[in-house]
């Protein structure tokens, strides 16, 4: 509730994106208590919110799940953000929404590239360095690589963009609504800085 209020009070900047790329508007908001930035897309029944996470908070979370300091730090300083996706359709309305993070692209310093997904992180960790319990927590705390949202469904989780704190990038969000592929760019996303 506090956050809802603070979101309403926060500065809203609406960017109209290039019509060739997308019809969706992006709403940028700053939480007045935490000063963390969120970006939200609403298009049709699809709603997606991306919110900064502080490296220190992410570091503490993964340390508490059993990761070593070194690995928790490497995750925390890789531009982790929280994603929440939702299908706003009324119950009983046809049309599910599919999200596949493998299709998303980020644009950084003129280079377009895919996201660093949970499968890639997992494959980088030697068996003897990360416990099964820690891997399990990482798997379920991160946004599903592929997710299907029926009417009323929510999904949430962390996602890594593989950049150092403070870096900026653009993100191409891709989803399918009732089988029709759609996309939208979110411009000027900034990874949270160390505080």
């Amino acid at each position: 509730m506090l956050s809802r209020k603070s979101c309403l009070n926060s500065v809203l900047i609406v960017f109209t994106l290039f019509p060739v790329l997308a019809m969706a508007a992006v709403i940028r908001s700053v939480d007045e208590q935490t000063a963390l930035v969120s970006w939200k897309i609403n298009e049709g029944d699809f709603e997606l919110q991306l919110t900064q996470l502080l490296p220190d908070q992410t570091r503490a979370f993964f340390l508490a799940r059993g990761f070593s300091k070194q690995i928790a730090n490497s995750i925390a300083t890789s531009c982790i953000m929280q994603i929440i996706g939702r299908n706003r359709a009324q119950q009983g309305m046809p049309g599910s929404i599919d999200v596949d993070l493998k299709l998303w692209r980020m644009l950084h310093n003129g280079m377009e590239r895919p996201l660093k997904l949970k499968q890639q992180w997992d494959s980088e960790w030697p068996d003897d360095k990360v416990s099964d319990a820690a891997r399990l927590a990482f798997r379920w705390a991160t946004f599903p690589t592929r997710q299907n949202f029926s009417s009323g469904d929510f999904g949430w989780g962390m996602t890594s963009f593989g950049l150092v704190p403070g870096e900026r990038f653009d993100l191409k969000v891709v989803w399918s609504a009732a089988g029709t592929r759609k996309d939208a760019w979110i411009r000027g996303i900034q990874c949270a800085e160390e505080r």
């Binding site: 509730m1 506090l2 956050s3 809802r4 979101c7 939480d31 935490t34 963390l36 969120s38 709603e47 919110q49 919110t51 996470l53 220190d56 908070q57 992410t58 503490a60 979370f61 340390l63 508490a64 799940r65 929280q82 929440i84 939702r86 706003r88 009324q90 119950q91 009983g92 099964d132 319990a133 399990l136 927590a137 798997r139 379920w140 705390a141 946004f143 599903p144 592929r146 997710q147 299907n148 949202f149 029926s150 009417s151 009323g152 469904d153 929510f154 999904g155 949430w156 989780g157």
Partner: protein, 167 residues
């Protein structure tokens, strides 16, 4: 210090998630009422629970974790739902990857009066069609999956519980 930062982190995510929350309740009919994968798990007291033993009543099964903000958000409504329908409906909460002590600490703030089972290895959740937490399934009296819900719901909603009781 680390515990404090973790709590702050969870609070931040919970507030952020709450701002996004949404009051409408909905359950997605499951494709073709398929039999649920059976399992045997222990609860926080060490007692064994086998899924097939729950046939005869509709059953709500919730996959969750204490660190998952929407799981924390919906757990009080699940407990209220339990107090409303415990004579007619069974409920199980399957915690993914955590231990009894963690759940004990959690339950001081979020009381849970129905069985909490421990899927420490994640073997059970792997057998179910779960992509993210929380995900909840509603089974009919014969043990078939009839509905699922991805993300949190207000489980004590009377209209929703009537659907469950009718299965």
């Amino acid at each position: 210090m680390m515990r404090q930062v973790t709590i702050q982190w969870m609070l931040l995510l919970l507030l952020s998630w709450s701002a996004f929350a949404y009051s409408e309740q909905s359950l997605t009919p499951y494709k073709g009422a398929q039999p649920a994968p059976d399992f045997e798990l222990v609860d926080v007291d060490g007692d064994k629970h086998r899924l097939s033993d729950y046939r005869g009543k509709p059953l709500i099964i919730n996959f969750w974790a204490t660190w998952c903000p929407p799981c924390r958000e919906e757990m009080p409504s699940m407990n209220r739902a339990w107090s409303k329908v415990k004579d007619d409906v069974s409920m199980l909460a399957i915690n993914v990857g955590e231990d009894e002590d963690t759940i004990f600490i959690f339950s001081a703030d979020y009381p849970i009066d129905f069985p909490v089972l421990l899927d420490r290895s994640g073997d059970v959740i792997r057998e179910w069609p779960v992509k993210g937490l929380p995900t909840t399934f509603v089974l009919d009296r014969e043990g078939n999956i009839r509905y699922m819900a991805v993300g949190a719901r207000e489980w004590d909603d009377d209209a929703l519980l009537e659907i469950v009781k009718g299965l």
